[in-house]
């Protein structure tokens, strides 16, 4: 075993330009509203923008099939919801199961691989390949092999989410603070204890970033895979409504998907605030 020269770099972990869930610039400017005045201003701007669009679309008599006014989208969502709801359920099943598989595999791989720098070097190009390849491209192939059911979509979601989780989690696990590991070792900590009590908590902010990006990529892939083929899911609704030129219904589904994306973001933001706020 060879020891490294003890170093205490001036830039401590967690400072500077590292990306954490709570210091992504989008987060920093996001929640954290200060006063009633700010709330009022935010609502006023939203009303002006949405109202302005509504007004402009009606004023210029833009046809419904080009761009439906916001009110008709909201009405369509309300009216069609019983029809759309089961499809939302299918998409959620694909997303949750695919994401769960991808996230678990990604996390385990990241944790294991970062322990062996040489193995990491061997695996890195393949991970990069998985990250950069749009998994949607594989969906027709997966459908050929697995049919039109859940399976090809869940696989696609897992393949899209897993590498995203892994690459970010690996960045987290690679953040070695030798002084903190030395601290644990000075009390006789085992490798496993060092992992659970030092490495894992240090990696947590990056793991959360990975989970969030993975979940959002998973949603994109699930919807895309449903658009490619098959008879259910929100993606299928999109193709169906657009082929029937039912634009208010089409945009209602888009609105639902945006809401889903925002919910994922807010969920991980709240988790990050609770468990990883020490970094900010």
């Amino acid at each position: 075993m060879s020891d490294a020269i003890p170093e205490f770099s001036k830039a401590k972990a967690g400072e500077g330009h590292e990306v954490g869930l709570t210091n992504l610039s989008a987060f920093a400017s996001g929640p954290g509203i200060q006063s009633g005045k700010e709330v009022a201003a935010i609502i006023a701007v939203a009303v002006i923008i949405i109202g302005g669009i509504e007004l402009a679309l009606r004023l210029f008599q833009v046809p419904l099939y080009i761009m439906p006014p916001p009110s008709s989208i909201v009405y369509a969502l309300w009216d069609e919801f019983p029809l759309i709801a089961p499809h939302l359920g299918y998409t959620l099943v694909e997303l949750l199961s695919g994401f769960a598989i991808g996230a678990v595999v990604g996390l385990v791989l990241a944790a294991v691989i970062t322990q062996f720098p040489f193995a990491e070097k061997i695996v890195a190009p393949y991970i990069l390949l998985l990250v950069t390849t749009p998994m949607l491209a594989l969906v027709p192939l997966l459908i050929l092999r697995f049919g039109f059911g859940y399976t090809p979509r869940i696989i696609a979601v897992a393949l899209a989410a897993g590498p995203m989780v892994m690459i970010n989690a690996a960045t987290g696990f690679r953040r070695v603070d030798s002084a903190k590991i030395a601290l644990a070792r000075s009390y006789g900590a085992s490798t496993l204890q060092i992992f659970w009590k030092i490495r894992a908590p240090m990696a947590l902010p990056m793991i959360l970033v990975g989970l969030m990006i993975g979940a959002i990529f998973g949603l994109l892939t699930a919807v895309g895979a449903e658009m490619v083929g098959g008879g259910f899911g929100l993606g299928n609704r999109l193709t169906t409504y657009s082929s029937m030129i039912q634009m208010p219904q089409f945009f209602a589904v888009v609105l639902l998907l945006s809401t889903l994306g925002i919910l994922i973001y807010v969920l991980f933001f709240l988790i990050g605030k609770k468990w990883a706020s020490w970094e900010a």
Binding site: D3, A182, S186, Y187, E279
Partner: protein, 275 residues
């Protein structure tokens, strides 16, 4: 505290050498350092930066393996981290995701022991941190963080406390305050302390002996006894004896470097700035 009273030193360093294997070749950081620390003694190690002070301390703690030589605790050779040795690191080294209580509980969690609540409460009160248990490290000043780190190190009741430039990052007033705190704790517990520092004043204030290491590779160059009684008041620290001792140690460390050439260069620098 007399050498004659303690035939077996508390902590014995015998011909300790340490070579680091780096990408740019081997680096001899410590070269046959020998040094005894007696029970209940405070020994400071001073020396130019990069002289292997921290290497020596990490080796004493069992965190680093020596390339040759050995470290003995109560006469028994140590081969790894030892429960009887506590360490205070540079820059507090608290875990930022744990509050103060959880940070102090950390050593007990690793060892699978129940924390000694009464002792921890006593220590926290001793360093003036009672009531701060729920705070996170980032909510505390540097001095408070380092006090928490001292509590963490003492919580397991080690018989030797190794302190690795613990107050280097603090401002000088906080530093003096922390030095008095270490003295108080020592008067309380009589824990054997090995203290690494850049500050000669700090070393003299705290120590029974000051060991001077030479520049890389680190060797024990000189050793001074500091005979002043404790607690050491500001008056004692202002005496000529302390002043002379400070200067002698300073000369040992920087003496060879402060050549006239450097002084000339410095002079030229000043002239250039003026013109």
């Amino acid at each position: 505290m007399n050498l004659a009273d303690a035939p077996t030193p508390k902590l014995g360093v015998q011909a300790a050498s340490k070579v680091y294997h780096t990408a740019s070749g081997d680096l001899l950081a410590l070269d046959r350092c020998s040094l005894d620390v007696n029970a209940n003694e405070i020994v400071s190690i001073v020396g130019p930066s990069g002289c292997g002070k921290t290497t020596l301390l990490w080796s004493m703690s069992g965190l680093h393996r020596l390339s040759s030589g050995e470290i003995r605790l109560d006469g028994v050779k140590i081969s790894g981290p030892h429960p009887d040795i506590g360490i205070v690191f540079q820059e507090a080294n608290l875990l930022p995701w744990r509050n103060l209580d959880a940070n102090i509980r950390f050593p007990f969690e690793i060892k699978g022991e129940k924390p000694d609540r009464a002792w921890i409460a006593h220590l926290l009160a001793r360093v003036g941190l009672d009531g701060f248990g729920g705070k996170f490290p980032r909510e505390l000043s540097g001095g408070m963080q380092q006090r928490a780190a001292i509590v963490r190190a003492l919580a397991l009741k080690p018989s030797v406390l190794l302190m690795d430039e613990p107050f280097g990052a603090l401002d000088s007033f906080t530093r003096e305050e922390m030095n008095r705190l270490v003295e108080e704790i020592w008067l309380d517990t009589k824990t054997t302390i090995v203290f690494i520092t850049h500050s000669i004043e700090e070393a003299i204030f705290l120590s029974d002996r000051v060991v001077v290491l030479s520049g890389r590779p680190g060797r024990v160059a000189k050793e001074y006894r500091v005979p002043f009684p404790r607690p050491r008041s500001l008056e004692i620290m202002a005496t000529k004896e302390v002043f002379d001792l400070t200067n002698r140690i300073k000369m040992d460390i920087v003496g060879e470097r402060a050549t006239p050439k450097a002084a000339e260069r410095a002079g030229a620098e000043i002239v250039r700035i003026r013109s």
